[in-house]
Point group: C2
C-alpha cells in the first residue's frame, strides 16, 4: 500500500461533495466536505481545496448522474440532464483536467463505489461486482474485469420496470416511468406511498412487501446480466432497515428460481451483502477511478515507446 500513488478523489453528491487525498483507506491524508450548491460555487470550492494539496498523481471523480462517460462524446465528463437546479450540462472532468496537469478518471458515484468496495470493501478480490444504492434514488454500478461496464452510457438499472405484486396498483412516483424500481422502492417513493419516511416505517408495514419485490426484481436482472460475482448494497433505505436484507435475499432466490446455476448463487448470504466502506465508499471509489486513469495513461505512454 505504501507505494500506491496519492490520488485526489472527489465524490460529487446531490447534497454534499467530499474531496479526499489518499492512496487507500489506511492512507487518507486529507478529507474535506463541501455542500453541493450551484455548480460554479461548488466546483470553485473543490478547486480551492485541490489547489492547496500537493503530490497527487491523478484525480478521480465519482458524480451523481446522469453523466457523460463516453470519451469520444463532445459532452464527455459533463453532468448532463439532471433536474438538479443549475447542474444540467455542467462540465466537470475536463474542467479539472484543464486546471491540473494529471490524468482525470470520471464515472458515476455508484460505479466509483463498486470499484471502492471491490478494492477495499465488501467485494475484495472480486473483479466483477455490482453496487446498488437504495436511498433518495436507486442506482446500480457494474464492474467487470475490474473496470466499469459501459458503452453508450452508464447503467441506469434502477429504472427498469418490473411486474407488480398481485393486487398492488399504486402508480409509483418516478416522473419518467411511474412504477419502475426507483418509483416503487426509493426513500421518496416509500414516503409518498405511506406518508412515513423509510427510516421510520415499521418493519411489519405491508408496503415493505412491494419494496422488497421491486428490489428483488432488480437483483434478479443484475444476476441475469451475467456480470456480478457479488452484489453490494448501500444507501439509506437499506442501511436504515436491517430487516430488508434477509427478506431481499429470500425474494431474490424465489425470483431467480434456480435458473442461473453457479456456486456463488448457492449462498445468497455471501452474494447479497451490505457495503463495508460506508460513507467512504464514494470518495474511496473516486480514488480508484483516479488510480485507473493514471494506470491507463502509463499504459499508453508505454505503448508509444
Amino acid at each position: 500500500m505504501t507505494d500506491a500513488p496519492l490520488i485526489a478523489g472527489l465524490e460529487l453528491g446531490g447534497t454534499k461533495c467530499v474531496a479526499m487525498l489518499a492512496s487507500g483507506p489506511d492512507a487518507v491524508h486529507e478529507q474535506v466536505r463541501i455542500p453541493t450548491t450551484r455548480p460554479e460555487e461548488t466546483l470553485a470550492a473543490l478547486e480551492a481545496v485541490l489547489d492547496g494539496w500537493r503530490g497527487f498523481s491523478a484525480i478521480g471523480i465519482g458524480s451523481f448522474g446522469p453523466v457523460s462517460i463516453d470519451p469520444r462524446a463532445g459532452d464527455y465528463g459533463h453532468v448532463t440532464s439532471t433536474p438538479k437546479p443549475g447542474w444540467a450540462n455542467t462540465s466537470v472532468a475536463r474542467r479539472f483536467a484543464a486546471r491540473y496537469d494529471v490524468p482525470v478518471g470520471f464515472h458515476t458515484d455508484v460505479v466509483g463505489a463498486a470499484l471502492g468496495e471491490a478494492r477495499w470493501g465488501a467485494g475484495q478480490g472480486l473483479d466483477a461486482l455490482a453496487y446498488v444504492t437504495v436511498g433518495t434514488g436507486i442506482g446500480a454500478g457494474l464492474i467487470a474485469g475490474g473496470r466499469p461496464v459501459d458503452g453508450l452510457t452508464h447503467a441506469e438499472l434502477g429504472h427498469i420496470r418490473v411486474p407488480r405484486l398481485h393486487g398492488d396498483d399504486w402508480s409509483g412516483m418516478c416522473p419518467f416511468h411511474g412504477a419502475c424500481v426507483e418509483g416503487l422502492a426509493s426513500g421518496p417513493a416509500i414516503a409518498a406511498r405511506t406518508g412515513i419516511k423509510g427510516e421510520d416505517l415499521p418493519a411489519d408495514h405491508p408496503a415493505w412487501d412491494s419494496v422488497v419485490d421491486a428490489l428483488a426484481n432488480l437483483m434478479t436482472t443484475l444476476v441475469l446480466t451475467g456480470v456480478p460475482r457479488r452484489i453490494v448494497l448501500g444507501g439509506g433505505v437499506l442501511v436504515g432497515n436491517p430487516h430488508l436484507l434477509p427478506r431481499l435475499r429470500a425474494a431474490t432466490r424465489l425470483t431467480l428460481n434456480g435458473y442461473v446455476v453457479r456456486p456463488e448463487l448457492d449462498g445468497m448470504d455471501t452474494f447479497l451483502v451490505p457495503a463495508a466502506l460506508g460513507g467512504d465508499a464514494g470518495p474511496l471509489g473516486a480514488v480508484v477511478l483516479g488510480a485507473q486513469a493514471l494506470a491507463e495513461r502509463s499504459e499508453r505512454s508505454f505503448t508509444r515507446i
Copy 2:
C-alpha cells in the same frame, strides 16, 4: 482482410452445428453442417471435419447455453445445465483445446453473433453492441470495448420478468419463470398461447401486443445496462414477421420515455436494427471468438518477453 488469420469457427446449435474455416465473410474456405444429436457423436463429427482442415491458427466456439465461460471455473468450456438430452455438463472448449494445439475461444452463440455483427454486419464500427435473438428461445449477447460483457457467467436477459399489459393474465410458458420475456414472446410461447406458430400468426392478431410489450421491456432493460450503442435483432420470430420491428421501435421509445438522453437513441430506426449476417452470424461470430483467443495468447506471449 488478406492477412487476417485463418480460424476454425464452430457454431453449436440446438438442432445443427456449423463448422467454418474462414478469416472473414469474404474469405470462407470451408463450411460444413452437422446435425446436433448426442454430444459424443456430434463432437466427434466436428473433430473429423477439423482433422481434415489445415492452416487454422485458432478455434472459436459459439455454443447454445447455458455454458460456463469463467476460465477459473472447473467446468470452464462446458455446456452446463441444459435440458437438451445428453448435453448437460458436456466439456467442449477443453476437448478441442486438448486435440488441437491452437488457442480456443468459447462463449455463447449470441455473444458470438454480437461479435460477428459488430465486425462484419449490422454493428460495423461499434465496440459496444447487443445482439438479441427471438426464436425458440430469447437470448441476448452483450459486448463492450469489443469484448464479451461477462463476469460470473453470461447474460440471460431473455429471462427477466416484466410488467404485464393491462388485462393480460396469461401465465406464460417458461418452466422457471412463467411470464418472463422468453415465456411470453418466444416462438413456442406464441404457439402455446395462440395455437398458431409465430410464422403463421396474422399481423393483426391481438397476441402480438403482449409479445411487442415484453420485447420492448427487454430492449429498455438493455438500454438501461448502459452498454449497447445499437441493438441487432435476429431469430425466426423477428425475421419471419417484418411488422414487428417498427412496432418494437415505437414501444421501446414509449417504455424508455426519454429517460436516457444520447444522440444514438434519437433515431430508433438506427438503434434497433435487423441482423445483417443472417445464418452466418453464428459461425462468423465463432471466427471472431477464435481470432480474439489468438490475439490474447499473442499479447500474453509479448508480455512474457
